[in-house]
């Protein structure tokens, strides 16, 4: 299982890195899916099967599909790629790269000073998660449902055509 963890972790990182550097939106999305699937495997090896399955169903199966849907609707095909002008010039990468590197370095310092423990590895199944969700966290669940409803209404309004902005479409 340990090996599997490191393997999946590496895949997740690699795929994420490729995802953010692709010109082609569709390829980037596929790499994100791979990254998410790898993350699901990471969860599985850490004894969180419920999280792993949710990661696939909701993240890969619904959220990214929405992205794919939008990409297909906008038809951001290969011909759209050249429009990402100035994307890969090294200058654009320096500032963000340094910032992210510093942040990562700091996090590494924090983690190495405190993260020497082994992960327990005992599976925490859906039953325990459900008990926690609808026990101590029930208020948060309600709030989350409000958030979803708000998102639903907002998306429905925004997607309901150009009611406010006239002949834009």
């Amino acid at each position: 299982m340990t090996v599997l963890f490191y393997l999946a972790g590496a895949v997740a990182l690699l795929a994420a890195g490729l995802a953010v550097s692709r010109r082609n939106a569709f390829h980037a999305l596929l790499y994100v899916v791979v990254s998410l699937l790898a993350a699901a495997v990471v969860f599985l090896t850490l004894g969180a099967p419920f999280a792993a399955v949710l990661e696939i169903i909701v993240y890969a199966g619904a959220i990214i599909v929405l992205f794919v849907f939008v990409v297909m609707m906008l038809n951001l095909g290969p011909e759209a790629a050249p429009r990402q002008h100035g994307l890969l010039s090294p200058a654009t990468w320096i500032g963000p790269g340094v910032l992210a590197a510093v942040l990562l370095a700091e996090l590494v310092v924090v983690i190495t000073t405190a993260g020497g423990d082994a992960v327990a590895g005992d599976a925490v199944g859906p039953r325990e998660v459900s008990h926690a969700l609808f026990g101590p966290y029930v208020l948060a669940v309600e709030l989350a449902s409000f958030l979803l409803l708000a998102g639903l209404v907002g998306a429905a309004y925004l997607g309901s055509g150009s009611r406010t902005t006239g002949g834009e479409g």
């Binding site: 082609n24 390829h27 596929l30 199966g61 619904a62 599909v65 297909m72 609707m73 290969p78 859906p126």
Partner: protein, 315 residues
């Protein structure tokens, strides 16, 4: 070594069984359709035309493996593999009998849902990579249809899960020792079956590949072995949904006299026959009708089913 060999044997057994089944289904469907339509169907190659499948496979293998020059090559090749892999992965948690199961996962039902949500990518990737407007429209339709119906499918399943108190398919079958779920969960079964038909894009919900409108939908540009994978993937999907219906609602391998495996296969074939009967009898709806039907009929029904089940279990 037995610790390693036993799972491998299971894997081989299940894979063989499932693939054989898928191949057999092609003949099974054609013969059944012919029966209902008062004609013979394939009956020349081998006994009862059983070897017709073999002939078809040989033909597909020897066809030119052609990738359109305007397609996104990598994704184009990847798409048909996704459906095969996802569906075959799903069979890993399906118990064919009490003993024969590859991975007896504690989140089996969820795992199957996860894998079925992955099959969306096959149609979408295929449709997009073909760089063809019919294929693109087919892919869009597939994405919207499958993401929507997966929701009802998941919710309709939950009634069964509530009754069994477990996501493990083995536990769910065990929980039906007294009464099969098709009685208390009749509503859930109906919703699940309809959603299943939509998930596998079978008639009447085959709008992503509706030949009258979109030529062949998302796999318009596919031919040869890659088309074969889509084709087999669809039959695998039918098998999977039927197996699930059997496991979740018709007591799985349970039955008198005969061994469990036989019971399971018989029940599955019976359910598959119903799938084919649907194809033989129902017209295809419009796409907006399909979506409206899902969100305005199936979703409330599935929620109602879950609610009532929850109330009964809790009280």
């Amino acid at each position: 070594m037995t610790g390693l060999l036993a799972p491998l044997a299971d894997v081989a057994l299940v894979l063989g069984l499932v693939l054989t089944m898928a191949a057999f289904l092609i003949w099974y469907e054609r013969r059944l359709l012919a029966l209902w339509q008062d004609r013979y169907g394939p009956n020349r190659v081998g006994p009862f035309g059983l070897l017709q499948v073999v002939a078809d496979v040989i033909k597909i293998f020897f066809k030119e493996d052609w990738v359109p020059p305007f397609a996104d090559r990598t994704v184009f090749v990847l798409a048909p593999m996704v459906i095969m892999v996802a569906v075959l992965m799903s069979f890993a948690v399906v118990p064919i009998s009490p003993e024969i199961v590859v991975a007896d996962s504690s989140v089996g039902v969820l795992f199957i849902l996860a894998m079925s949500s992955m099959t969306v990518y096959a149609s979408v990737l295929g449709g997009w990579a073909s760089n063809n407007k019919y294929a693109l429209l087919g892919g869009l339709r597939a994405a919207a249809q499958m993401v929507s119906y997966e929701v009802f499918m998941g919710i309709s399943l939950m009634g069964v899960v509530v009754l069994a108190g477990s996501f493990r398919l083995g536990d769910i079958v065990e929980a039906q020792s007294g009464l099969w779920n098709c009685v208390p969960q009749f509503l859930g079964m109906l919703v699940f079956a309809v959603a299943g038909v939509a998930e596998t894009k079978r008639v009447p919900f085959d709008l992503p590949e509706a030949e009258a409108e979109l030529v062949a939908g998302y796999h318009t540009e596919y031919s040869g072995m890659k088309f074969g994978m889509f084709f087999v993937g669809e039959y695998l999907g039918v098998t999977l949904i039927s197996a699930l219906i059997v496991l979740l609602y018709f007591g799985g391998w349970r039955g008198p006299w005969l061994p469990p495996v036989v019971w399971f296969l018989l029940k599955t074939l019976a359910v598959i026959a119903v799938f084919f009967l649907l194809r033989a009898s129902l017209p295809r709806p419009r796409f907006d009708q399909l979506m409206a039907y899902g969100w305005k009929v199936l979703l409330p029904l599935a929620l109602l089913n879950l609610l009532v089940t929850g109330l009964v279990v809790l009280s």
